[in-house]
């Protein structure tokens, strides 16, 4: 079970690749899909590896990605459906 989850605001992304490169557990990869500005936003390839450290969120210059620890996902916990 993953310790955290990463959320991506696709339309803000400018595909600099910082989050993909510096994710300590290599959760992310740049996708082949485009956002409306023509950039390739990252997508989650290994959701089970995410530790929710939010390092991607600290690196992202466009405020387009952030990690959340599983303990803080109260909404998901209540329904028992944590991804």
């Amino acid at each position: 079970m993953a310790k955290g989850r990463v959320s991506i605001v696709v339309e803000r992304c400018k595909a600099c690749g910082f989050c993909v490169e510096f994710c300590p557990t290599h959760v992310l990869a740049l996708s082949s899909a485009f956002n409306s500005k023509g950039y390739h936003p990252p997508h989650v390839v290994h959701p089970e590896k995410c530790s929710g450290c939010d390092l991607c969120g600290m690196y992202c210059p466009d405020f387009a990605i952030y990690g959340t620890k599983a303990g803080e996902l109260k909404v998901n916990k209540a329904t028992g459906g944590e991804k």
Binding site: V9, K14, C16, G17, C60, P61, F63, Y66, V75
Partner: protein
């Protein structure tokens, strides 16, 4: 402290004017990353946002004032520190942050930088140094290292560059640190530490400018620059600032270089007036530190 109830809110979001996003900074630019660290520092140090003011000058970094949801002011070119000085003197209870670039702070406002450090005015200065005048088209700045190609020096820069930590230490700053945009957590901790200091704190953040600096110097894009920072930066806490100058492709000394105590401008002013005027001097209430 922010309480994230669901996972739909970025922890930085409460500090941003979301309606102005996406911002104008280029893909791979590091200024947004420094804003992340700044926001994390505000969360960690539990500063009352009502007592915080952010002042920016002109330039790419100057845009920060327009993107953060704080009391902020976008001043004229180079005059972020004079405006912040006036703000601090008029309302000593404010925590005043100056958030600007190397060209704005050290070139156009260079005079103000050294004199604010000399007077030790209680300001937190965050200088995002991308080694160039970025917004105006990549001209040589006082911080451009030797041999770098710029739009005004197409055959390479030959002017000696400013070593900003050395400059502000010599002028009298009480806290001097340098990090790169790769060192996000260290930078956030440094900003939190600066909030605890009373006096002129200066934090230099080396940031990529992929469009104008890295491209002209064939150093790749923003990500390549981040890898370069990761590889070539060396933490040297307490290093003599005379030895931390930047070179084109060389090592980047990072860390906390200076952490000392000197009486700040307002306490010196108070002491002088009490000494010469005695009881005739009606003291303003002591500025309370709200950083807790």
């Amino acid at each position: 402290m922010l309480n994230i109830v669901d996972n739909t809110v970025n922890p930085v979001e409460p500090f941003l004017r979301s309606d102005r996003m996406p911002h104008i900074w280029c893909p791979g630019c590091g200024i947004g990353t420094t804003v992340n660290s700044f926001a994390r520092a505000l969360i960690d140090s539990k500063i009352d946002l009502e007592s915080l003011a952010l002042v920016s000058g002109i330039g790419c970094t100057g845009r920060v004032a327009g993107y953060v949801k704080l009391d902020s002011f976008h001043t004229t070119h180079g005059r972020a520190i004079p405006f912040a000085t006036g703000l601090k003197l008029a309302n000593p209870k404010l925590n005043v942050v100056v958030y600007s670039g190397d060209g704005d702070l050290s070139a156009i406002g260079g005079n103000h930088l050294i004199h604010a450090a000399r007077r030790n005015i209680d300001l937190k200065v965050i200088c995002v140094n991308n080694l160039i005048y970025a917004m105006t088209g990549g001209q040589t700045a006082p911080t451009t290292p030797g041999h770098a190609t710029t739009s005004t020096n197409p055959y390479g820069t030959f002017e000696p560059a400013f070593n900003l930590p050395h400059l502000v230490e010599a002028a009298g700053a009480v806290y001097v640190a340098r990090w790169t945009t790769f060192h996000v957590r260290q930078l956030a901790r440094s900003i939190s530490e600066a909030f605890q200091k009373k006096g002129f704190s200066f934090i230099e953040v080396i940031s990529p400018c992929p469009t104008l600096y890295q491209r002209r110097n064939k150093m790749g894009d923003g990500l390549d620059t981040m890898k370069y920072y990761k590889e070539k930066s060396k933490v040297k806490h307490g290093a003599p600032t005379s030895e931390v100058g930047l070179t084109l492709n060389g090592e980047i000394a990072v860390g906390k270089f200076v952490d000392r105590d000197r009486p700040d401008y307002q306490s010196m002013m108070r002491a002088q007036y009490v000494e010469s005027l005695g009881e005739r001097y009606i003291e303003e209430p002591e500025a309370e530190c709200v950083c807790g």
